[in-house]
């Protein structure tokens, strides 16, 4: 039913860099529950594209500074 996501993220580091913003603060600013921020940080949940953009906007960084997707072994960039 559930395959772990290959999408990784830098939310924890970005929160730290943003004055040690708490998960609750980020959740409030994005408009989601704190549990959802925790699940995203731990790689247990991949947000929708819209939520991903909202998170990136809070940190004022491009989307790919928040979320990363590993390159394929043949050197081609993965889709995601």
């Amino acid at each position: 039913m559930v395959k772990p996501t290959r999408v990784t993220n830098s939310i924890r580091a970005l929160r730290f860099a943003a004055g040690e913003m708490t998960q609750a603060d980020l959740a409030d600013r994005v408009g989601v529950t704190r549990q959802t921020i925790i699940a995203i940080e731990q790689g247990k949940y991949s947000p929708t594209l819209e939520m991903a953009f909202r998170i990136a906007r809070v940190f004022r960084v491009p989307l790919d500074e928040v979320f990363q997707y590993p390159h394929e072994q043949d050197g081609q960039e993965g889709q995601g």
Binding site: V2, K3, T33, Q35, A39, Y45
Partner: protein, 142 residues
């Protein structure tokens, strides 16, 4: 814990004992006397009323313990809710199909009502377990 997760814990905490008590009352009768003589309507009604009322009260208590959280749900909550409902609905449908077949076979009302009742209750419980599992494990849409 998200409010919707608490709400599903309420379903489990209320639903499992309620179902067990119903089975404890009805199953010995099924084993010991003719189906037509079984007193099942009252226990079933009481079980349904207790299940519904206890769920409402449980949700009120859960909401009162953190009103702000009770008003908040997001896309993950909604997706988990949809997944759980989809899984639970299969059991409800299965119970309904069994009831339909029993009705076609002119089975006693007892069996028809219980197929629907147990399918519905089992569907609620499995739905709650699915949602709680989704809250704790990895959950992706694809």
């Amino acid at each position: 814990m998200a409010f919707l997760e608490k709400s599903n814990w309420v379903v489990l905490v209320v639903g499992v004992p309620t179902l067990l008590v119903y089975l404890f009352v009805v199953v010995p009768q099924v084993l010991g006397q003719p189906i037509a003589e079984i007193s099942w309507v009252e226990p079933m009604i009481v079980t349904i009323v207790v299940f519904v009322v206890a769920n409402v009260l449980g949700n009120v208590v859960a909401a009162a313990s953190n009103p702000r959280e009770a008003d908040t749900n997001d896309e993950r909550d909604r997706e988990i809710d949809r997944l759980g409902e989809r899984v639970g609905n299969w059991l409800i449908i299965a119970g309904s199909i069994v009831a339909l077949v029993l009705a076609m076979a002119r089975a006693d009302h007892f069996w028809i009502a219980n197929a629907i009742f147990l399918g519905g209750l089992a569907g609620s419980l499995v739905s709650a377990v699915t949602k709680i599992a989704a809250y704790h494990g990895p959950f992706q849409r694809w």
